[in-house]
C-alpha cells in the first residue's frame, strides 16, 4: 500500500465536496424535525433530486437550473409526504419509508435515458487572492458555489432558529403542537412548509451528488447518504453547527476510504466501503448512550401526529 500517494491537500479539499450532499440533506431534515416531524424519506427525496437535477442540467445545459430542478424534485416528493402525514394523518415512519421506496423506483424510471451521460460542468470559484495561500487556499477557496451556499445555509438556519420569530414559532410547534395550537398558530401549515423546505434541501443534496460529486447518473446512487443524513441530525442533537461538524467528519471518512482503495490498501475494497456505515452506527451509539442532554434538545413532539379535535 502506498500511503504516500495520498495528497493531504487534495484529500481535505475533496472532503468538503464529499460532505456537501449529506450536509444539505441533514440541514433540511433538522428544520423538519425542529418542527416536530420525522421524515424518514430523505433518501427518496435525495435520489429524486439527484435525477431531476441531472435531467434538467443535461436538457438545459445549465447546472444552476439543474440545482433548482433538484430542489423542486425533492420538494415535489415532500409534498406527498406532507399531504399524507399532515392532512391525512398517516403514520410518519411508514410514510417516510414509502417515500424512499417510491423515490428509488421513480428516479430509476426517469433516469432511463440518462445513464452514461456527463452533466454540464459546474464552474469552480477561485476566491481572488485567498486561493493562492499555500495549502489553505486550495483546500478552502477553490470550490463550486454550492459548497459556500451550504456553509451559508448552516449559518442562516442557525440564525433563524435562534434569533427570529419564525424560528421561535417553528421550535414552539415542534415542542408542543397542542400548546401552539391553543395560542392560535397554524400547526399544520407551519409543518407543511418545513417539510417542503426539507424536501428542497434533500433535493439539492441529491443534485449536488449527480452534478458535481460523482458526476453522472446511476440508479440508487445515493447509496444510503439520506440515511446517514438522518443519523447526522441525531448526532448533532438538532444543532446546525454540529451538523456541519458531523457532515465533514463523515465526508472525511468517505474520502479517506476511497483514497485507501485507490492507494491499493491490503484491506479488501468491500470492507473499506462498509466503513462509513459502521462508523455512522458507532457514532450513533456514542451519542445516544449519553442521552440526557441530547434528549433535552430533541423536539418533544417529534413524530407525533397532530389533529385539532376542536
Amino acid at each position: 500500500m502506498d500511503l504516500g500517494g495520498i495528497n493531504p491537500v487534495l484529500l481535505l479539499a475533496s472532503l468538503m465536496v464529499a460532505s456537501t450532499p449529506i450536509l444539505l440533506a441533514a440541514l433540511g431534515e433538522l428544520v423538519v424535525e425542529k418542527a416536530g416531524v420525522l421524515n424518514l424519506g430523505v433518501e427518496g427525496m435525495m435520489i429524486v433530486g439527484a435525477i431531476c437535477g441531472f435531467a434538467v442540467a443535461v436538457e438545459t445545459g445549465s447546472p444552476a437550473l439543474g440545482f433548482i430542478g433538484g430542489a423542486v424534485g425533492g420538494a415535489g416528493l415532500a409534498v406527498v409526504f406532507a399531504v399524507l402525514t399532515q392532512v391525512l394523518l398517516a403514520n410518519q415512519v411508514a410514510t417516510g419509508l414509502a417515500l424512499t421506496l417510491f423515490g428509488l423506483g421513480f428516479s430509476a424510471l426517469i433516469g432511463q435515458g440518462y445513464i452514461g451521460i456527463r452533466p454540464p460542468a459546474t464552474a469552480r470559484i477561485e476566491v481572488p487572492l485567498l486561493f493562492e495561500i499555500p495549502y489553505v487556499g486550495p483546500i478552502l477557496f477553490r470550490h463550486d458555489l454550492m459548497v459556500y451556499v451550504s456553509l451559508g445555509l448552516v449559518a442562516a438556519i442557525w440564525l433563524v432558529l435562534r434569533y427570529t420569530r419564525t424560528g421561535l414559532v417553528l421550535r414552539a410547534v415542534g415542542e408542543s403542537h397542542d400548546a401552539a395550537h391553543a395560542l392560535g398558530y397554524k400547526v399544520v401549515r407551519i409543518r407543511i412548509l418545513a417539510i417542503l423546505f426539507g424536501g428542497a434541501m434533500a433535493g439539492l443534496g441529491g443534485a449536488y451528488l449527480s452534478l458535481i460529486r460523482v458526476p453522472q447518473w446511476t440508479e440508487g446512487m445515493t447509496a444510503g447518504a439520506g440515511w446517514i443524513a438522518l443519523a447526522l441530525v441525531v448526532f448533532a442533537s438538532w444543532r446546525p453547527w454540529r451538523v456541519l461538524l458531523g457532515a465533514y467528519l463523515f465526508g472525511g471518512i468517505a474520502v479517506l476510504q476511497l483514497n485507501l482503495q485507490a492507494a491499493g490498501s491490503k484491506i479488501p475494497v468491500e470492507y473499506l466501503s462498509m466503513s462509513p456505515y459502521l462508523i455512522t452506527i458507532l457514532v450513533l451509539v456514542l451519542i445516544s448512550s449519553g442521552r440526557s442532554r441530547a434528549a433535552l434538545n430533541a423536539p418533544a413532539s417529534l413524530g407525533k401526529p397532530f389533529h385539532a379535535s376542536t
Binding site: R165, L168, R171, A172, D178, A179, A182, G184, N297, A300
Partner: protein, 515 residues
C-alpha cells in the same frame, strides 16, 4: 358594579359535536371590570364556551358583541387583538423554551427579547408575581407556570381576561396571591371571566355568576347573595350524595416506603427524595400536593414502573422495591394512575382487553402464557355491572367512554381484584359529581374491608372527606402524615408549601413559602 357598561354580550351561542350538544343557546353578558364566574360541572360546556369567545372554536349559531361591536373572532390572534386574553387550564406553555420566549409566543408583536425581558420583570413586580424571564419553563413549578401565562396576557393590556380553573394547581397561599392580583386587575377596569367548579372560591372572588348545566344556562346570580349549597344544587341539578364513612379501625402495617430516593424518568419531572410512609390495613392515607410535585413518580415507584432498592418498598414486610408491575400485582399491590387514556387504559383497545391489561394474573385469565378471553370478557362485564359503567358492552373501545365512565371502569378493575393494598392517583379528576361520589365510596368500602389504600389527589376536599391521615408532597418530599381530623386549611397550606415542621412556622415564613 351594576352601573358599569356591558363589555361582552353573548346571545344564543350554540355548538354541537357528534353525539353531544356542548352549548345550547347560551346567553349572558359581562360588564367592564367585573369578575364574572362561569360555574358548572365537568362536561357542562364551560370549556367549549370560552374557546368560542377566544376564537379557538367557531359557534354553529349565535352572536357576540364586544363593547357594542360585532365580535366573531375567527382565530385567537383576532381575539387577542380585540383585547380578549386567556389563561388555560392545561397550560399552553413550552417546557424547553424560556419564560421570555413563551411570553413572546403569546403576543402579536413582541418587542425585542431584551426589552421584553425588562417588561416581564416590571409587570410581574407590579402585580406581585415575581418571575425570572430567562428560566426554562420546564424547571418552573405549576404556580410559576401559571404566572407566565398571566403575565403573557397582562402584557397585552386585555379588556377581558379568561381564566380556566386557575386554582386547581395552586396551594391555598398561592390562591390568596392570585386573588389579590385579580382584584387589582378588576379595580383597574379589566373584566375577568372566571371558570371554576369550586363554590367557595367563587363566593369569595366574583361579582356575578352564570351557571351552566349540560350546555345550557340554568341561572345567573350574585354568588355572595346565595349559599354554596344553593349554587351546588343548581350546578348539579339534584342534591348530592355524601359518601358514608365507617369509623377506621386500622390493623397492622401493610404497605411501607422506607427512605425512597428515585430519579424521575422525565427530564422535567420531579425526583422523589427521602420519601417514607406506612399504611395500615383498613386505613386510607391521603396524599395532597400541587401538580408536578412528584405524584406521578410516587405512583410509578409503587406500581413497579420505576424500580428501586428491594427494601425501599415493602408489602406485608416483604421487600418488593425491585420487582416489576406483574410481580407486585401477584402479591396484591394494585395501582391506578392518573392518566386514564394511554396509561391506565389503552384507548383503542376494547374494555375486555383493558380488563386483561391488569387483571390477567389475579383473575385467572392466564394459562401457560395463553390468555382466556372468555374470562377477560366476563371480568369486564362484572366491572361494568358492579361499577355502573355506562357503555353498550365490553366490546367497546376505551376511548369511546366518557371520562367519568372510564374512570369508574379503571377503579373498578383494581378494586374488584381484591387488592391487599391499592394506590390511586387523582381518582376523580374530571369526573362528574355522582360518579366521583361512587368512586370515593368504593375506595372507602375497600378500606373498610381491610385493604390499605393510598389516595393521591390535588382535590383537598376529597382528601379531607375520605382519608384517615393526610400527608403532602412538595418537590418530591413527603411530609409527616397527620390525622385528618383536626387539620385546618392553614396547616394544610403549610404542608403543601413544604413547611413540614409546623412548630417553626411563623407568619414571615408563611409569606416566604407562599412566594
Amino acid at each position: 358594579m351594576t352601573d358599569r357598561p356591558t363589555l361582552l354580550e353573548i346571545r344564543g351561542l350554540t355548538k354541537a359535536y357528534p353525539g353531544v350538544v356542548a352549548n345550547d343557546d347560551v346567553s349572558f353578558s359581562i360588564r367592564e371590570g367585573e369578575v364574572h364566574a362561569l360555574l358548572g360541572e365537568n362536561g357542562a360546556g364551560k370549556s367549549t364556551l370560552v374557546k368560542m369567545i377566544y376564537g379557538l372554536v367557531r359557534p354553529d349559531a349565535g352572536s357576540m358583541t364586544l363593547r357594542g361591536h360585532d365580535y366573531a373572532p375567527p382565530e385567537p390572534s383576532s381575539a387577542r387583538a380585540a383585547g380578549v386574553a386567556m389563561v388555560f387550564q392545561h397550560f399552553s406553555l413550552f417546557e424547553a423554551l424560556d419564560v421570555a420566549e413563551n411570553v413572546a409566543l403569546g403576543m402579536e408583536n413582541p418587542p425585542p427579547q431584551r426589552q421584553l425581558a425588562r417588561r416581564i420583570r416590571e409587570v410581574s413586580q407590579a402585580y406581585g408575581l415575581p418571575l425570572d424571564p430567562s428560566r426554562l419553563v420546564g424547571e418552573l413549578s405549576a404556580g410559576e407556570r401559571q404566572r407566565v401565562e398571566i403575565i403573557r396576557c397582562l402584557l397585552q393590556d386585555p379588556k377581558l381576561l379568561i381564566m380556566d380553573e386557575p386554582t386547581s394547581v395552586l396551594t391555598p397561599q398561592e390562591v390568596d396571591i392570585l386573588f389579590r392580583t385579580l382584584r387589582q386587575l378588576s379595580a383597574e377596569g379589566t373584566a375577568i371571566l372566571y371558570i371554576s367548579h369550586k363554590l367557595e372560591e367563587i363566593r369569595a372572588l366574583c361579582d356575578s355568576a352564570t351557571i351552566l348545566r349540560l350546555g345550557k344556562v340554568v341561572g345567573t346570580c350574585d354568588p355572595r347573595a346565595v349559599s354554596a349549597r344553593e349554587l351546588a344544587e343548581q350546578m348539579v341539578g339534584s342534591s348530592l350524595m355524601i359518601p358514608e364513612r365507617a369509623p377506621a379501625n386500622p390493623g397492622p402495617v401493610v404497605l411501607e416506603i422506607d427512605t425512597l430516593n428515585l430519579r424521575s424518568a422525565n427530564p422535567f419531572g420531579t425526583s422523589l427524595r427521602d420519601v417514607s410512609l406506612q399504611v395500615r390495613a383498613g386505613e386510607i392515607l391521603g396524599i395532597g400536593g400541587v401538580a408536578g410535585n412528584g405524584q406521578d413518580e410516587l405512583l410509578a415507584a409503587l406500581s413497579g414502573e420505576a424500580r428501586a432498592l428491594a427494601q425501599a418498598v415493602k408489602l406485608n414486610g416483604v421487600g418488593i422495591g425491585s420487582l416489576g408491575p406483574l410481580d407486585r400485582r401477584t402479591l396484591g399491590l394494585l395501582t391506578a394512575p392518573e392518566e386514564r387514556l394511554g396509561h391506565a387504559a389503552a384507548p383503542d383497545m376494547t374494555l375486555t382487553e383493558n380488563a386483561a391489561l391488569t387483571g390477567a394474573l389475579r383473575q385467572g385469565m392466564l394459562k401457560h402464557g395463553f390468555l382466556n378471553w372468555a374470562r377477560a370478557r366476563s371480568f369486564a362485564e362484572d366491572i361494568i355491572a358492579r361499577f355502573d359503567v355506562r357503555t353498550p358492552g365490553p366490546h367497546v373501545a376505551a376511548r369511546a367512554l366518557s371520562g367519568g365512565n372510564l374512570q369508574k371502569f379503571v377503579i373498578g378493575r383494581e378494586v374488584l381484584q381484591r387488592p391487599v393494598a391499592l394506590v390511586v392517583n387523582q381518582p376523580t379528576w374530571g369526573v362528574d359529581a355522582s360518579a366521583a361520589a361512587s368512586i370515593r365510596q368504593a375506595l372507602m368500602d375497600l378500606a373498610a374491608g381491610g385493604a390499605a389504600v393510598v389516595v393521591i389527589s390535588q382535590d383537598l376536599d376529597e382528601l379531607m372527606e375520605i382519608s384517615d391521615r393526610f400527608a403532602a408532597l412538595n418537590e418530591g418530599r413527603l411530609s409527616e402524615p397527620r390525622p385528618t381530623a383536626g387539620l385546618d386549611v392553614e396547616r394544610i397550606g403549610l404542608m403543601l408549601g413544604g413547611a413540614h415542621d409546623m412548630d417553626v412556622a411563623d407568619p414571615e415564613e408563611i409569606a416566604h413559602v407562599a412566594e
